[in-house]
């Protein structure tokens, strides 16, 4: 079972990430008084994209390589995390720093791809993406580190559900708030879909990608937002646990569903921020997260 667990993780992620995306789209539609697409629409989108021609405007290997790497990085993250509250065989060899870096690797490959695409819009998008990544990565890191400093371990199994039981303190509450405020930035939704900015940048870094390449990026984005929903649930709601794996899994997925509702609600009731405004906003969040970690170290 322990050997199968990474595969189960990957399978669940691959299978459900588009569904959650569908939930988001449906919810957005409802808020806009529309009927909205069917829940399974993202699957169709991905499938269709796979069947489409891949246009290559760069003709260089970084351009073709980037989508594969972006997808692979996030899939690797999905494989190692303790999904359903159970650490799998890989968790013993990985820790949260690795997860943070792997996520960064996924983001970086988007950048490499955008730069290879040579499109002015892609490059603006990429540079905004990078700025966002630089500014929100510490928040993500501190979310995980808070648990780490409390328990003195950076391991995935320990650090992620650190807030369990008695150690849930002021610091965790503060960090929860920060995480919620940064959630939209993690999943690149409004008001922080600054890098893709449909209206001005035409999907930014992805502007040159089509067909299967674009499908991989899209898929990677969906996986990423599922990861962040999972992270929220398992870091801040660790008490939703029974110890029975299938049940835990189900509870976790339900809680993630709720997180997605929240993402959808916030995403559809806010305008996009400008990158300079967003950077200032992130800086405040970083400060708050630092305060939370400080409190955590002092034992609150």
């Amino acid at each position: 079972m322990r050997f199968l667990a990474p595969l189960v993780n990957v399978a669940i992620f691959l299978a459900l990430a588009p569904l959650f995306e569908g939930v988001l789209r449906k919810l957005t539609a409802k808020i806009q008084s529309r009927q909205g697409p069917p829940l399974h629409q993202p699957y169709l989108d991905l499938l269709k994209l796979l069947g489409k021609e891949r246009l290559d405007s760069a003709g260089t290997w970084p351009f073709r390589f980037a989508p594969l790497l972006a997808f692979a990085a996030i899939l690797a993250v999905a494989a190692v995390i303790p999904f359903g509250g159970r650490a799998n065989i890989l968790a013993g060899r990985m820790d949260v720093i690795l997860v943070i870096y792997l996520l960064t690797l996924g983001g970086a490959s988007v950048l490499f791809g955008a730069l290879a695409g040579r499109n002015a819009f892609g490059l603006i998008g990429a540079s905004r993406e990078m700025v966002t990544m630089i500014m929100v990565e510490p928040i993500l890191a501190m979310t995980l580190i808070l648990g780490a400093v409390k328990l003195g371990s950076l391991s995935l199994a320990a650090a992620v559900p650190s807030a369990a039981g008695a150690s849930y303190g002021i610091s965790n509450a503060l960090m929860l708030l920060v995480y919620l405020l940064a959630l939209q930035a993690f999943v690149a939704r409004q008001p922080f879909d600054i890098a893709e900015a449909e209206v001005e940048l035409l999907e930014g870094p992805f502007i040159e990608y089509s067909g299967g390449n674009y499908a991989l990026f899209k898929y990677a984005m969906m996986l990423k937002q599922m990861f962040y929903a999972w992270l929220f649930v398992s870091v801040f709601l660790p008490f939703l646990r029974t110890g029975v794996y299938p049940l835990d899994l189900l509870i976790q997925l339900l809680a993630m569903f709720v997180v997605f509702l929240l993402i959808g609600l916030v995403g559809s009731t806010n305008p996009r921020m400008r990158i300079d405004q967003a950077v200032r906003y992130y800086a405040v969040l970083i400060a708050a997260a630092l305060a939370a970690v400080g409190l955590g170290v002092w034992g609150h």
Binding site: T28, I31, Q32, S33, R34, A120, F121, I124, Q190, P191, D193, I194, A197, E198, V199, E200, L202, S268, T269, N270, P271, R272, M273, R274, I275, D276, Q277
Partner: protein, 555 residues
């Protein structure tokens, strides 16, 4: 200052250069001027509080062997509009450029450089404006000897020279197919980092050459249907403005009821246009929910106008002499019902949006232009009213039935994008008020005035209509063969768009969509050049060799 006083002061200032003057209607004045004093006279009018409206150039070689040029100025406080009419001999169509003094005249002059082959020495940016990049110089489509469907061969060097880049900037090419635009126009945005330093516009890609089309086919009363299609949003504005210009030129008076129905059409159009813009503005700052709900509310207006006029855009309603369809009592009730619902919906929408600090964050302080510069660039409509300039043609140059209707003109002094949006939100309520009054005060009577005689030829009229985006200006010179000799349209976007580089300067690139969106740009309006010319007696078909010769003779 009255019209008499401006004439006498012009005479005093320029003496013999003022050849004569006429007044085709109340509040309209035409002054004939020697072309050597044109620039001074333009500056004279501007210094006395005039606002530059537009220039009209015409090929009058078959009548007077000249190229004519009229610059129009509006005196909004004093409620009159004055045209400075000059002419240049056919052999030397050169006029002094007034652009150095009046930046908003820049396009007019470039336009006639392209279309009539006029020359404007002293123009700061004498570049191509209207014709396609590969259109050969030396063929001027508005000249009467060029057939309407002439398609000259491409010239070899087709690249348009963009403006010199300010140091340290690169270009972000926006358009013609870009999610912000929805219409083909190209903006070369020069950015330093993310900050916009300069912007070059290469538009007029939706230029459809309506005038030459009309040269052979269309008569007076088909023009309104084509005029409506100058713009898909403010269609009625153009047909009303055209019809009013013809009616003014020909001295026709139409029934009062028709005038009230025109007001209803115009205001319905303003309602749907403003809701559209507010929605689009939401979309442009990435707030799609605002877009969806604004358009959901707007849809009622569309349904209403579909019921009223038979087309979702109030198309096909206005003709010379009145309107085509009456408003029946049942329809009147229905309009009232829809208005009631609409008012409630807009009010709750207004409440939900107006106080949202996240929207303020994207719109306040963005695209700021000081009030003095607004006048200098002749910005119009909500773009000007949102920046503290109180102009509204409905009040300043009353037309149709607006003289009988009481309404407010909302003005804010924010000077930014948010101001223009607030003005539009408030105008929605005013429009509802106006429609209610119009329906109440509407007298009975016929809606279409019949008249038996052909319209008199070579009379001038120009009408000013407040479109949702600002003042629309139509100039008509009536012609002989049941169609206008010259028809010139200046849509509000034509001048507002010229101010865009000024509004963009030193803003973030992320604000480009909303700044551009805040003028509610309508490139098709701008690009129309709807000038109807009388059928030329000397029409001739160009042979290939002649065309080749012309193509070579440029430069």
């Amino acid at each position: 200052m009255s019209t008499n006083r401006i004439i006498s002061s012009l005479r005093a200032e320029f003496g013999e250069a003022v050849r004569g003057s006429s007044s085709p209607a109340a509040g309209r004045l035409l002054v004939d001027l020697d072309r050597s004093r044109l620039r001074e006279a333009a500056r004279f009018l501007i210094n006395r509080g005039g606002r530059y409206q537009v220039g009209v150039g015409a090929d009058e070689r078959d009548r007077t062997q000249t190229f004519g040029l009229i610059h129009f100025f509006a005196f909004d406080r004093e409620r009159f509009s004055i045209g400075l009419r000059t002419a240049a001999p056919a052999s030397d169509p050169t006029f002094d450029s007034i652009t150095p003094d009046i930046p908003s005249a820049g396009w007019t002059e470039r336009e006639f450089r392209d279309l009539l082959g006029m020359r404007f020495p002293g123009h700061p940016k004498p570049k191509k404006l209207i014709t396609a990049d590969d259109w050969p110089d030396g063929i001027y489509p508005l000249r009467k000897d060029v057939p309407y469907n002439l398609v000259p061969p491409s010239t070899a060097d087709v690249a348009y020279q963009l403006d010199e880049a300010p140091p340290g900037t690169t270009i972000v090419p926006v358009g013609p197919f870009h999610a912000t635009l929805h219409e083909p126009a190209h903006f070369a945005v020069y950015v330093d980092g993310e900050t916009i330093k300069h912007c070059d516009y290469r538009g007029f890609m939706a230029h459809r050459g309506i005038e030459k089309l009309c040269q052979t086919q269309v008569s007076y009363n088909e023009v309104p249907f084509i005029a409506e299609r100058i713009c898909g949003i403010c269609g009625s504005v153009h047909s009303v403005a055209y019809c009013q210009a013809v009616e003014m030129a020909a001295g026709l008076s139409i029934s009062r009821r028709a005038e009230f129905i025109r007001v209803v059409c115009l205001e319905l159009e303003r309602l749907h246009s403003h809701l559209l813009l507010i929605g689009v503005a939401g979309h442009l700052i990435g707030f799609d929910t605002v877009f969806m709900h604004a358009w959901r509310i707007r849809e009622q207006v569309m349904w209403l106008s579909e019921k009223m006029t038979g087309n979702r855009k109030t198309y096909g309603m206005v003709v010379i002499g009145g309107v085509r369809r009456d408003i029946t009592p049942e329809m009147k009730d229905e309009i009232f019902a829809v208005l009631k619902n609409l008012e409630a919906e807009i009010a709750s929408f207004h409440k939900a949006v107006a106080g949202d600090s996240s929207i303020h964050g994207r719109t306040k302080g963005v695209g700021k232009v000081p009030t003095e510069e607004v006048v200098l660039w002749s910005l119009l409509g909500p773009v000007a009213r949102g920046r503290g300039v109180d102009i509204d043609a409905r009040r300043d140059f009353p037309y149709a039935a607006y003289d009988e209707i009481a309404f407010d003109v909302p003005v804010t002094t924010d000077g930014d994008v948010w101001g223009t949006i607030v003005v539009r939100l408030l105008e929605l309520f005013e429009s509802i008020k106006i429609i209610r009054q119009a329906l109440d005060k509407m007298p009975s009577g016929p809606v279409l005035t019949e008249y038996g005689e052909a319209l008199p030829a070579f009379r001038t009229g120009w009408s000013i209509v407040e479109a949702p985006r600002g003042e629309s200006f139509h100039y008509v010179l009536t012609g002989e063969e049941n169609r206008p000799e010259r028809w010139r349209v200046r849509a509000p976007t034509y001048t507002n768009l010229q101010g865009i580089p000024r509004m963009l300067r030193d803003n973030q690139f992320a604000d480009f969509p909303i700044i551009l969106g805040s003028i509610d740009p309508c490139f098709s309006c701008t690009d129309r050049v709807a000038v109807v010319d009388r059928r030329s007696g000397r029409k001739r078909v160009w042979t290939k060799s002649e065309m080749d010769r012309l193509s070579r003779s440029r430069s």
